[in-house]
C-alpha cells in the first residue's frame, strides 16, 4: 500500500485545459470551513478517487448556498446567493451535483429551480450506495464487524427529501450491527441545528435539543453514532461530550466509516 497525493480537480482549471467533469462535488460552507466537517469532505474525496469518479469542485468560485440565510428570514441574501451559484453552475454546464450537506442538497435541488437552476442532485449517502451497487466500490466487512452503530436521520435528508434507506444500506455494508433509536426515520428527533439555529444561541428552555437527541442514542449503548450532515455532526459531537462519553462513543459521518472500512 502506498500513499498518493490527491490533487482535487477544480472546474476553472479544467476549463482552462478545455476539459470538464461529469459531477460537481458541492462542498458547501461547512464542508469547506468547519474543522470537523472538513474531515468528512476529505474522506468523501478519497471515496470519489477510489471509485474513479469523474468529478471536480468549484473551489473559490463556490459561495454559500443561502440555506441558512433564507431560514433566518433574509430572502434577499438567499436569492443573491442562489442566482450567483446558478450562474457559476451554468457557466461550466454542470448538470449533476453531489453534496455531503443535506441542507444544501435540499436548497439546490428544491429551491434553485425557482430561479431556473435545475440539476440532478445526489446526497453522498445515495452516491456511495450507487458506487457500491455499481461495483465501483467494495466495502470491507471486517473493520466494523463487531461495532454497535446507530444512525441519526438528518431532518433535511429524511423528512425533507425522503432519503431514509440509502444511508442504512450503506452502513450495513460495513457488516456492523445497526440498531435503531426509538425515534427514527420520519419520526427522528432533530439535532437542533437546522433553520439557522446553528449560528445562534438557543432560546430559553430546560435543556438543549442536542442533549435530548444524544440521550436517544445513548440509550442504545452504541460504539458509534453515525450521521450524514455537518450540522448534526457538530450537535451530536457536543452531545456526546456533554455526557462525557467521547472516549467510548465516536460520532462519524457515513463517508468517514466507508473510508475507514477501506483504510483509504
Amino acid at each position: 500500500m502506498q500513499q498518493r497525493l490527491i490533487e482535487v480537480p477544480v472546474f476553472s482549471n479544467l476549463a482552462a485545459e478545455g476539459k470538464t467533469a461529469e459531477y460537481l462535488f458541492w462542498v458547501g460552507s461547512s464542508g469547506s470551513y468547519d474543522d470537523r466537517a472538513k474531515k468528512i469532505t476529505r474522506d468523501f474525496v478519497k471515496i470519489l478517487e477510489k471509485a474513479k469518479v469523474n468529478y471536480a469542485v468549484l473551489g473559490e468560485e463556490e459561495t454559500d448556498s443561502g440555506d441558512s440565510a433564507r431560514r433566518a428570514g433574509n430572502e434577499f441574501l438567499f436569492q443573491m446567493q442562489a442566482m450567483q451559484n446558478i450562474e457559476t453552475f451554468n457557466a461550466y454546464n454542470i448538470k449533476k451535483i453531489i453534496t455531503c450537506d443535506p441542507h444544501d442538497y435540499n436548497t439546490i435541488k428544491n429551491e434553485y429551480p425557482d430561479f431556473g437552476g435545475e440539476y440532478e442532485l445526489w446526497h453522498h449517502t445515495e452516491f456511495i450506495l450507487k458506487l457500491i451497487e455499481d461495483k465501483k466500490l467494495i466495502v470491507d466487512h471486517s473493520t466494523f464487524a463487531n461495532q454497535r452503530i446507530t444512525y441519526h436521520d438528518p431532518c433535511y435528508l429524511g423528512r425533507g427529501n425522503q432519503i431514509y434507506e440509502a444511508p442504512r444500506k450503506v452502513i450495513e455494508k460495513t457488516g456492523c450491527q445497526l440498531v435503531e433509536m426509538k425515534r427514527n426515520r420520519s419520526r427522528a428527533l432533530c439535532c437542533g441545528a437546522g433553520g439557522a439555529q446553528m449560528f445562534k444561541e438557543p432560546e430559553k428552555g430546560d435543556m438543549e435539543v442536542f442533549e435530548l437527541r444524544t440521550k436517544d442514542a445513548l440509550e442504545l449503548n452504541p460504539n458509534i453514532i453515525i450521521t450524514a450532515c455537518p450540522f448534526c455532526m457538530t450537535m451530536l459531537t457536543d452531545g456526546v461530550k456533554l455526557f462525557e462519553k467521547e472516549d467510548a462513543i465516536k460520532v462519524f459521518d457515513i463517508a468517514e466509516i466507508i473510508a475507514k472500512a477501506n483504510a483509504l
Partner: protein, 432 residues
C-alpha cells in the same frame, strides 16, 4: 304535509346559517394572499385517498389513531343515512334510498354498527380528556374554552349516535322483516318491542327529529369549533403543498428586485397599483389562504407539539399554538376587515399573539408538519413571520445578522476569506 313544511323550514334555516358562515370564510380568504399554484390534480387525488380517506397520518399513532380512524370511517357510512333522512323529510317518504337495494342494506348495516362503535369510542375519548391527564391535551394554548369546546363537540356526537340508535331501534321494532339491517339496534330493541305500536311510532319519530336537528345544529356549530376539521380535513389535505416539506416558498417580488440588482438592464416589472405588500407576515392579512385553512382545520390534537424538538426541550414554541393564534386573531380582526380593508386596531398576530421568542426557537425540522394528520404546514407560518422580522424590522437575533453579513462579505456564514475555501484539500493523501 305539516311535518314536511316544518322540516323544509328547519332545512332552510340550517342552510341559511351555514351559508352565512361559509360566506364569511370566503370573504376572509379574499383578502389573504395567494399561496402556491394549485395543479397536479392527479397527485392531489392520490393524496386525498391515502391521507384523507386512508387516514395514513393519524395512524402514525397506531392505537388511538386507529380508534379515531374508525370514527372517521363510521361517519362516512352514517352520512348515507343522513342524506336519506334529508330526502325523506323533504318529500314525506320513508327510507327512500331502499331503491338502491343491496347498497342501501350495506349502508344501513354498517351505519348501525358504526353508530354503536362511535358511541363507545366517544365515551372513551371523553374519559381520556376529562379523567386522564394526557400531556398532548395540555399547553398554554389549551385554554379552558378550548377544552369546553372539545368536550361539547364530543357530547354532541354522543347524542347524535344515541338518537341514531334510538331511531333504528324504533324502526326495527316496527318493521321486524327489516330488523336484520340494524344488527345492534335490533338487539337493543328487545327493550321496547313489547310496547304498543303508537309508542313505537312516537319513539322512532322523536329520535328521528332529534337526530336530524342535532345534525343541523352540529353542522352550524362546527365553523366556530375546533371540530371544524370534520368539514375541513379532506379539503385541506387535498389542497396541501405537494412539494417536499423542507422546500420554502419563493418570494417573487424579491426575485424581481434581486435580478435588477444583479443586472440593471433587466426589464423593470410594471408597478402594480396595489398597496405595497409587506415582506413576510406580521398580521393575518399578510398570510395566505392556506395559513387560514390550516388554522380552521386544526383539531388541536397536539400531535405536532408532542414531537416538536423546541417544545420537548422546554422552549416556548408550540406549533399547535401557531394555528390556534392565527384563528383567534382572524376571528378578532376579520369582522372589521370585512367592512374596512384599512382597519387597524394597533394589534397584530406578531407580538400580541405570537412572540418573537417562539419564532426564533424553530429548527425547521418539519416534525410538526410530518405528524399533523390533516397536513397543516406550521413551518411556513413561522418562516413567513421570520421574513417579516428580518426584512421589515431588521430584528433578527444579532448572531443571525452576523451570519448574514459574513455571507454577504465572504460567501460563508463564518468570517473566513473566500480564498480559504479550498484549504481543506491541502495535503490530502489516499492509500492505494
Amino acid at each position: 304535509m305539516l311535518k314536511q313544511l316544518i322540516f323544509l323550514a328547519t332545512v332552510l334555516i340550517a342552510l341559511g346559517v351555514f351559508a352565512y358562515s361559509v360566506r364569511n370564510i370566503l370573504l376572509n380568504i379574499s383578502f389573504l394572499k395567494k399561496a402556491y399554484p394549485l395543479n397536479r390534480w392527479g397527485e392531489r387525488f392520490a393524496r386525498l385517498l391515502k391521507v384523507g380517506f386512508g387516514q395514513t397520518k393519524i395512524l402514525r399513532f397506531p392505537l388511538i389513531g386507529f380508534l379515531h380512524a374508525l370514527v372517521f370511517w363510521g361517519f362516512l357510512a352514517i352520512l348515507f343515512g343522513s342524506f336519506e333522512m334529508l330526502i325523506d323529510g323533504l318529500f314525506g317518504l320513508e327510507k327512500f334510498l331502499k331503491i338502491l337495494g343491496p347498497l342501501h342494506h350495506f349502508f344501513m348495516i354498517s351505519g348501525d354498527i358504526f353508530a354503536a362503535i362511535i358511541l363507545i369510542l366517544i365515551i372513551v375519548f371523553l374519559f381520556r380528556r376529562i379523567a386522564l391527564n394526557i400531556k398532548r391535551f395540555s399547553g398554554i394554548e389549551m385554554t379552558h374554552k378550548a377544552h369546553t369546546d372539545a368536550n361539547f363537540a364530543l357530547t354532541l356526537i354522543l347524542l347524535l349516535m344515541v338518537s341514531l340508535l334510538g331511531m333504528n331501534m324504533g324502526y326495527s321494532a316496527l318493521n321486524p322483516s327489516e330488523a336484520h339491517l340494524y344488527p345492534v339496534s335490533k338487539v337493543l330493541s328487545y327493550l321496547i318491542v313489547n310496547q304498543n305500536e303508537s309508542f313505537l311510532h312516537i319513539f322512532e319519530q322523536i329520535n328521528w327529529w332529534a337526530h336530524i336537528l342535532l345534525i343541523f345544529f352540529f353542522a352550524n356549530y362546527l365553523p366556530y369549533s375546533k371540530h371544524f376539521h370534520v368539514f375541513m380535513s379532506l379539503p385541506n389535505v387535498f389542497l396541501s403543498k405537494l412539494e417536499p416539506l423542507t422546500q420554502m416558498s419563493n418570494m417573487e417580488r424579491v426575485t424581481q428586485e434581486v435580478k435588477l440588482m444583479l443586472d440593471p438592464s433587466a426589464p423593470i416589472p410594471e408597478e402594480s397599483n396595489d398597496l405595497i405588500e409587506r415582506f413576510g407576515m406580521k398580521d393575518i392579512e399578510d398570510g395566505t389562504w392556506k395559513h387560514y385553512t390550516d388554522s380552521l382545520t386544526c383539531t388541536q390534537c397536539g400531535r405536532c407539539t408532542s414531537v416538536c424538538p423546541a417544545n420537548l426541550t422546554g422552549k416556548l414554541l408550540s406549533p399547535r399554538k401557531m394555528m390556534i393564534d392565527f384563528r383567534r386573531r382572524m376571528n378578532e380582526k376579520s369582522p372589521h376587515l370585512r367592512k374596512n380593508k384599512q382597519y387597524d386596531d394597533q394589534k397584530s398576530l406578531l407580538d400580541d399573539y405570537i412572540t418573537r421568542e417562539e419564532l426564533w426557537a424553530c429548527t425547521t425540522c418539519n416534525a410538526c408538519a410530518q405528524e399533523c394528520p390533516v397536513n397543516i404546514d406550521h413551518p411556513s407560518m413561522i418562516l413567513e413571520m421570520r421574513r417579516y422580522l428580518f426584512m421589515e424590522e431588521s430584528a433578527a437575533p444579532s448572531a443571525l445578522n452576523t451570519m448574514s453579513t459574513n455571507i454577504e462579505n465572504n460567501g460563508a456564514p463564518w468570517q473566513y476569506p473566500p480564498s480559504d475555501r479550498l484549504k481543506w484539500a491541502d495535503n490530502l493523501y489516499i492509500n492505494e
